[in-house]
């Protein structure tokens, strides 16, 4: 039983880091440019499609993945230059409407370019199989790799934002755009770069998820809502909040799905438990968010100035 709990916790963390990669870009763009980007999920999808194209083409998972990250970052930056930057000072609902339009556009575009069948990415041969992390618990090597990559990306982001000149510029841009400009930061370029970074992180999430979840039109929206939940629970604009909330959401979702039916079985009659458990585990995340926001209306780690 303990090993099962441990394994499920690992699954929860693995889902959590995927959500974090997506939420990090959202919360950065949100916190710094005050921009609601519903189309972030489209970048996740486009990243996965690029990876599913480049990996077989290059014959290498790593090379294909890097190409996909670069290509998605380029798409993100193009969107920033063409559309986003015209909307930073606009009402949130205008941003929602425009980026909703982008979702429709990208979902149709991938259908037209890559066909309706969807794609898949094979697990690289060196990650096929399982690892015995503790004896008797074989854990899929690929999931472990996803977990490690996600944590590494989180660490990279932390160092980037808090320890480097670029990060200093990002933070300056977040707290005071005029001051940042006075410091000689090219705000326009900085913002384009931030969207590019967010796009690359979304693509990373997309391509890491692809061998587990496959690649199809509309895959972005299935996870986008969860990523927004993470951003909101964590507190908009807070990378640290996004990280904590992502792991929390991942754990609550996974552990809830794994153990809630049994708990309810023990508490309620079979029939009622069968009816209640799936509905409850579906809404568990939303319930969590409602409770968090009812107590802390600006999330767990409200960023100052937001």
């Amino acid at each position: 039983m303990m090993t099962l709990v441990f394994e499920q916790a690992l699954n929860g963390v693995q889902l959590g880091v995927l959500l974090f990669l997506l939420a990090a870009g959202l919360t950065l763009v949100f916190g710094i440019m005050n921009f609601v980007n519903l189309a972030h999920g489209s970048l996740y999808m486009v990243g996965a499609y690029f990876a599913a194209t480049f990996i077989p083409w290059s014959g290498s998972f790593i090379v294909g993945a890097l190409l996909a990250l670069a290509a998605t970052a380029a798409v993100g930056m193009a969107l920033e230059v063409l559309i986003f930057r015209r909307l930073y000072h606009r009402d949130h609902m205008d941003q929602v409407l425009a980026t909703f339009g982008l979702i429709l556009f990208f979902n149709e575009l991938v259908l037209m370019v890559w066909g309706p069948a969807g794609l898949s990415i094979a697990v690289p041969s060196w990650l096929v199989g399982q690892v015995n992390i503790i004896p008797g618990v074989p854990y899929p090597a690929y999931r472990l790799a996803v977990l490690v990559t996600g944590l590494a990306a989180a660490a990279f982001l932390y160092v980037l934002v808090s320890r480097t000149r670029t990060g200093m510029r990002i933070r300056a841009g977040a707290s005071d755009q005029q001051m940042a400009q006075a410091l000689g930061v090219d705000i326009k370029l900085l913002f384009t770069g931030i969207v590019g970074l967010g796009a690359a992180l979304a693509a990373l999430a997309g391509l890491l998820a692809a061998p587990l979840r496959s690649v199809y039109a509309g895959m972005g929206e299935d996870i986008l809502v969860l990523a927004f939940v993470v951003v909101v629970i964590g507190g908009i604009g807070s990378i640290r909040g996004a990280f904590v909330a992502a792991l929390g959401v991942g754990l609550i979702d996974t552990v809830g799905r794994a153990f809630l039916p049994r708990v309810l079985d023990a508490l309620l009659s079979d029939q009622i438990a069968d009816a209640v458990a799936p509905a409850l585990s579906t809404t568990l995340i939303y319930l969590t968010m409602v409770v968090v926001l009812a107590i802390r209306p600006r999330g767990l780690f409200p960023a100052p100035g937001q």
């Binding site: 099962l4 499920q8 309706p116 898949s120 895959m219 794994a258």
Partner: protein, 395 residues
């Protein structure tokens, strides 16, 4: 005051509306068919396969039926009941179609069928088979070329009876998923080790459930994960290392659409179905052969059912010699099902659902190394769905 301005604008608007309303002229000597299916979203591949099969059927009949030209409009339902309903209304009310076919999803079909059947337009369901339409709500203008939801999994329950004594069952938590589980439970006499209903429509990561399966270590696992769900489930099942350990059975989860992606993983796994590409009858050989020649892939069961729907419609139009006003004649002809089905024998029960065989099939490689399925055994012969007895068809 601007009353005059308002009057002019209103007149203009009405004129525009009238122009819009008159729509396309109705051509008399034509069989008009509407085909409602899913062409966009992540499951658009199913609709595309059905459309390809329907087009192939039209090619095979020279795009005429009983001497009349055939025109088909394919409509996308985007897996949304209200869109399906709207498209069906348009086909029936505006385009004045004679037949509506297609319908992958139970909820879209249930929302839409009355728009056709209430107006004496025949609806030929080519996939969804909800129990309501097979039983109490059976309808004289509704016919199905697929199956009733429970049947295929009832056959699976019988298969499991022969092979295992405990099974772990898993499906998404929606009506079809719960029906499928109920079907297995209806016939399986061993022990259900555990039953897991996963989130619908957005759960795509099964890590938690797979860990639970490993911990429960049942004799076998049976799942229902259609479309993308299937692809994802089998990939993750394999990555979790369960594939060799716990035998996996499935229903409607492995099809010609996802076999190219997951064939390697699921080679040898077994499922039940009422059709298979290797069925040895002339109609099927022609269908599968020409489909592969034209589109370069195996047809899915969705395609086979759509092909049969086209052939069924033609048989009726020919029976009334192209007199599409003869609704009773068409209805009787449809009920006779006098056409060469790709399933070989095919007839309708009282409730207008097929009476047909159900097979056990398994995933194999064909001579070219492509993945397909092959019939292993006949599970049911001439099987009648369990809801037929609740149907009292109004003539």
């Amino acid at each position: 005051m601007n009353l005059r301005g308002i009057g002019i604008l209103a007149a203009l608007a009405v004129a525009a509306l009238v122009f819009w309303v008159t729509g396309p002229p109705n051509q008399p000597d034509q069989v008009r068919i509407g085909f409602v299916t899913t062409l966009t979203t992540g499951t658009g591949v199913i609709g595309a396969d059905m459309r390809d099969a329907f087009e192939l059927a039209l090619d095979h009949m020279g795009r005429t039926m009983g001497g009349l030209d055939v025109s088909v409009s394919y409509e996308d339902d985007a897996v949304d009941p209200s869109i399906g309903r709207q498209k069906t209304e348009r086909l029936v009310q505006r385009d004045k179609v004679h037949f509506v076919s297609g319908f992958i999803w139970s909820n879209v079909l249930l929302a839409s069928y009355q728009a056709a059947t209430d107006n004496d337009v025949f609806l030929i369901g080519a996939n969804a088979g909800p129990s309501q339409l097979a039983g109490e709500a059976c309808n004289r203008n509704f016919f199905s070329t697929s199956w009733q939801n429970d049947q295929t999994t009832m056959a699976m329950g019988e298969v499991l009876n022969d092979q295992v004594s405990t099974v772990y069952v898993m499906a998404p938590n929606y009506a079809a998923g719960r029906n499928m589980i109920a079907g297995v439970e209806r016939t399986f006499q061993g022990e259900i080790a555990d039953k897991t209903l996963t989130q619908f429509p957005d759960q795509l990561d099964f890590a938690a459930e797979l860990a639970n399966i490993r911990a429960a270590s049942p004799e076998a696992v049976w799942v229902f994960y259609p479309g993308n769900f299937g692809t994802q489930f089998f990939q993750q099942y394999s990555q979790a290392g369960l594939l060799g350990e716990i035998p996996l059975y499935s229903t409607f989860s492995i099809d010609a659409l996802n076999l190219p992606q997951i064939g390697e993983l699921v080679e040898g796994t077994q499922m039940t179905q009422s059709w298979s590409p290797d069925m040895d009858n002339p109609a099927n050989q022609k269908f599968v052969g020409d489909f592969r020649a034209k589109y370069g892939r195996y047809p899915s069961f969705y395609a086979a059912q759509a092909y049969d729907a086209a052939m069924l419609i033609r048989s009726a139009v020919e029976a009334v010699e192209g007199d599409l006003e003869d609704l009773n004649g068409l209805r009787q002809a449809l009920a006779r099902a006098d056409f060469q089905s790709v399933r070989g024998k095919f007839s309708f029960g009282e409730n207008h659902f097929p009476i047909q065989d159900f097979f056990l099939r398994e995933v194999v490689r064909d001579a070219d190394g492509a993945f397909t399925t092959r019939i292993v055994d006949v599970v049911y012969s001439d099987h009648v769905d369990p809801y037929a007895k609740d149907c009292s068809m109004q003539p």
